[in-house]
């Protein structure tokens, strides 16, 4: 079995790679927007759940406090605890509830219920400004704060008196843990989506790679054969209508054209060669003849050469004589004119 090896210079790999990047970035942007939206939604869910729970349970918890907690009987106290726990079970965010007087005295604190009823021996008070402020509000209010080292949402519901105003307030503390859990769930979903997309892309890319890269490689091999002069090659054309099929058809067409062209060229060249051979033969014959004629004319050339030598000597004698005649004439003329050059 042939080992699958990615050619990173392959066009298909390049296209696939940039496609993956584009998809990945698109997913990232989509996920970011989605998570921002979900985070706000989760946060608002906690606030809304807390608000509904607080508003609906405040009067009931207060009533239980008056009816059971404030009684000296231990059974009543246990009943109060049970009922409070049942209420807590209806909200996954709540971590604490307490009844506080408008002047900041804590009457009960759910975190202390396990150690029994608060007897009032030690006065416990709310001291932070935000909570003291909230206690005096006639309407429900909430704010974020730190509670035992974690960020929480504090919700205050005044227990309204029939005659107006309030002297007691139910304070609820809601954790943001569920927000983080929900976000973790969202992250997990997105991570799973990324993984799924990645796997899908892999499965999509391999056929893509094979469909695109293999025909190109095949055509490349065929082209190399063609370049080596083998015009008998032919690309295997599947009955597709895609670009690769067109390319293969055109390749085959090109090779056919080249083959025909070569054959025609070959015929033309043979004739030219024959003509050329004939011309060469003729030239060779001419040359032979000329050579023979040259040999024959060689002897005449030697004779001519001797004659030329004799002629050169005669010419020199004649020229010297002429030069002396000219010189004599100049002397005569100068004397006639009375001029002397010296």
């Amino acid at each position: 079995m042939e080992k699958f090896k990615i050619n990173y210079n392959s066009l298909a790999v390049k296209i696939g790679f940039f496609g993956v990047i584009l998809i990945f970035l698109s997913l990232l942007i989509f996920s970011s927007v989605s998570l921002i939206s979900q985070r706000n939604e989760f946060y608002n869910d906690i606030v809304t759940r807390g608000k509904i729970f607080s508003e609906f349970s405040a009067q009931s918890i207060y009533q239980d406090y008056i009816t059971f907690y404030a009684q000296p009987d231990e059974q009543d106290f246990q009943f109060f605890k049970d009922r409070l726990e049942a209420k807590f079970a209806t909200n996954k965010d709540i971590i604490n509830a307490s009844l506080i007087s408008v002047n900041g005295r804590i009457l009960f604190d759910s975190n202390e219920l396990s150690s029994g009823r608060y007897t009032g021996d030690v006065v416990r008070s709310v001291s932070d400004a935000a909570s003291l402020n909230a206690l005096t509000n006639e309407e429900s209010s909430y704010h974020e704060s730190d509670f035992m080292g974690q960020k929480v949402l504090e919700y205050f519901v005044p227990i309204k008196e029939i005659s107006g105003g309030h002297v007691l307030v139910m304070r609820y503390i809601f954790s943001f843990d569920s927000l983080n859990n929900q976000l973790f769930g969202a992250y997990r979903e997105i991570a799973m989506s990324f993984l799924a997309v990645f796997i899908i892309m892999i499965f999509l890319c391999i056929p893509f790679y094979l469909n695109l890269s293999k025909p190109i490689a095949m055509l490349n091999d065929l082209a190399m054969k063609v370049s080596a002069g083998d015009f008998s090659v032919k690309a295997d054309i599947k009955s597709g209508k895609d670009e690769m099929s067109d390319l293969a058809k055109n390749f085959n067409s090109m090779v056919e054209t080249l083959r025909i062209s070569k054959e025609e060229t070959n015929d033309s060249h043979q004739k030219e060669i024959d003509d050329f051979k004939e011309k060469i033969n003729r030239l060779v014959a001419d040359n032979t003849r000329i050579s023979r004629e040259l040999v024959e004319s060689g002897q005449a050339i030697v004779a001519l050469k001797d004659k030329n030598t004799d002629l050169e000597k005669l010419n020199k004698i004649m020229i010297d004589r002429e030069l002396r005649i000219i010189e004599s004439k100049d002397v005569v003329n100068n004397k006639k004119n009375g001029k002397s050059k010296v």
């Binding site: 990173y8 210079n9 790999v13 390049k14 790679f17 990047i21 990945f24 970035l25 990232l28 996920s31 970011s32 998570l35 921002i36 985070r39 706000n40 946060y43 606030v47 009533q63 008056i66 009816t67 404030a70 009684q71 000296p72 009987d73 007087s101 408008v102 002047n103 005295r105 009457l107 009032g120 935000a130 003291l132 402020n133 909230a134 005096t136 509000n137 006639e138 209010s141 909430y142 704010h143 974020e144 205050f156 008196e161 029939i162 005659s163 002297v167 007691l168 943001f176 927000l179 983080n180 976000l183 992250y187 990324f194």
Partner: protein, 465 residues
């Protein structure tokens, strides 16, 4: 493009994802987008130099506070009209009402006291005062008020705790039998003149119930011969105690150290009540308030129910409602209970509070009655404990001459006051639980013995406090 470039790009993408995750873990929505609690600290209401008093009342009905109106005209004053009158006379005093429902009152006043938000003036069901007095919640009344209480009230049993007077008696109540005259006539229970014949004895009650009770084809009661109300102590325990007293029995021992209701007389009374259930003249689903819609023919009620029945029945009230003394076993008797008013120990304006109470409860008007007496008799529909209020001709129409109230008033002298005992509500609740168990089949003697043993534990714990 080579392998390195691919790996580099992949690494960058992974880093982007990591940064994205970290950013979203670390950041969260801006709290500033949420409504904030930014109200300034509300200062306590100040009234300049005025003395501010808070009166904690258990009256929750509008007419009790704002008065009774007919066609837009004030017919009977409500509590607030009296407060307005006082504040007009004393411009330096401002009195507000803190309304606390009856069911919450006992615990709420203690709670308010614990958080230094105690009202100045309280108005309580007498047994609640026992724990209040023991825990130091109540101010000791001035001597003149104590003397006035000793001299001018029909019953002082409620306001006296451990031999000391702790306030001013308000209303005094007992129980009577109400019966529906129309249903009696329809059932043929009439005298020689054709008028509804009021039951005098328990046997009369059983006989009338037998004639009046109606059931549907499935055996469900559609008209109750007699009605109780499950879970409401005054409609379960108080009828039992009224009949017990009429049978010569006792609730607790004189020193409040032992339960006495489970003796033979108690068993006889509860057996008689349970007979109504066994014979199908009533059941655990009956309700005293069904009396107003002609679904119940008889019930034991206190005087204060007049206002509610009048409100629910309208013009039918005078035609249909008959009231008679508790049908007795061996002698006429009824349970008596009372309320009293006083000043909280933590009040910062005790003198002003007592001054107001003097004006409200002692000051006799030209009518010969006190303001508190008028409010109780005419608006609240209760029986005022102060003698002048009870006998004055000014309130004759709503008290001694009133067909609804007259039987209650007539019984007062023969009624037995409820003991002022610590944890009175718990004792009653314990007894109520066993009475209700007997209604639905528990052996009567066993039920009363079980109640007695549990009440004994409560009484024992009281003695340790």
């Amino acid at each position: 493009m080579n392998k390195k470039l691919v790996l580099l790009t992949a690494t960058i993408l992974l880093m982007l994802v990591a940064v994205f995750i970290v950013l979203f873990i670390k950041t969260k929505p801006e709290i500033s987008s949420l409504p904030k609690n930014n109200n300034p600290v509300v200062s306590p209401v100040t009234n300049g130099d005025k003395i501010k008093l808070v009166y904690a009342a258990h009256w929750t009905e509008k007419y009790q506070l704002e008065g009774v109106y007919e066609n837009g005209v004030l017919k009977e004053k409500g509590f607030k009209q009296y407060l307005d009158e006082y504040m007009t006379l004393h411009p330096n005093v401002d009195i507000s009402v803190l309304t606390v429902p009856y069911a919450d009152y006992e615990a709420k006043i203690k709670l308010l006291n614990d958080i230094d938000q105690a009202p100045d003036i309280f108005q309580i069901y007498s047994p609640w005062g026992v724990s209040y007095a023991k825990e130091g919640l109540l101010d000791v009344p001035p001597k003149d008020i104590k003397a006035d209480v000793e001299a001018n009230y029909v019953s002082k049993s409620g306001v006296v705790i451990d031999g000391n007077v702790w306030g001013i008696p308000g209303e005094v109540n007992d129980y009577s039998l109400i019966y529906n005259k129309k249903m009696f006539k329809d059932a043929g229970i009439v005298d020689a003149d054709g008028n509804a014949l009021a039951p005098k004895t328990w046997d009369d009650v059983v006989a009338a119930a037998k004639k009046i009770t109606k059931k549907d084809t499935k055996g469900n009661i559609i008209k109750y011969g007699f009605a109780f109300t499950k879970g409401v102590d005054w409609a379960v325990v108080d009828p039992f105690l009224s009949l017990l007293f009429s049978n010569g029995g006792s609730y607790l021992s004189a020193d409040n150290s032992k339960p006495m209701f489970n003796d033979a007389k108690g068993v006889e009374v509860l057996t008689s009540i349970v007979d109504l259930f066994k014979k199908g003249y009533t059941d655990a689903n009956s309700n005293v308030w069904d009396f107003s819609n002609d679904k119940a023919a008889m019930a034991f009620v206190a005087p204060w129910t007049e206002g509610t029945f009048r409100d629910q029945m309208g013009t039918r009230f005078d035609q249909e409602v008959g009231v008679t003394s508790v049908p007795y076993f061996s002698k006429p008797n009824s349970l008596q209970y009372s309320w009293f008013v006083g000043v909280m120990n933590k009040s910062k304006n005790k003198k002003a509070a007592w001054d107001f109470l003097r004006w409200f409860t002692e000051d006799v008007q030209p009518s010969g009655t006190t303001r508190y007496g008028d409010l109780l008799a005419r608006t609240i529909k209760a029986i005022p404990d102060r003698k002048v209020d009870l006998v004055s001709s000014a309130n004759k129409d709503v008290l001694v001459s009133n067909t609804f109230k007259a039987p209650f008033i007539a019984q007062l002298s023969s009624s037995t006051p409820e003991p002022n005992v610590l944890q009175a509500a718990k004792i009653k609740a314990t007894l109520m639980e066993q009475i209700q168990a007997a209604w639905v089949g528990k052996d009567v003697k066993q039920a009363l013995d079980d109640a007695a043993s549990r009440v004994q534990l409560i009484l024992d714990s009281n003695n340790k406090k």
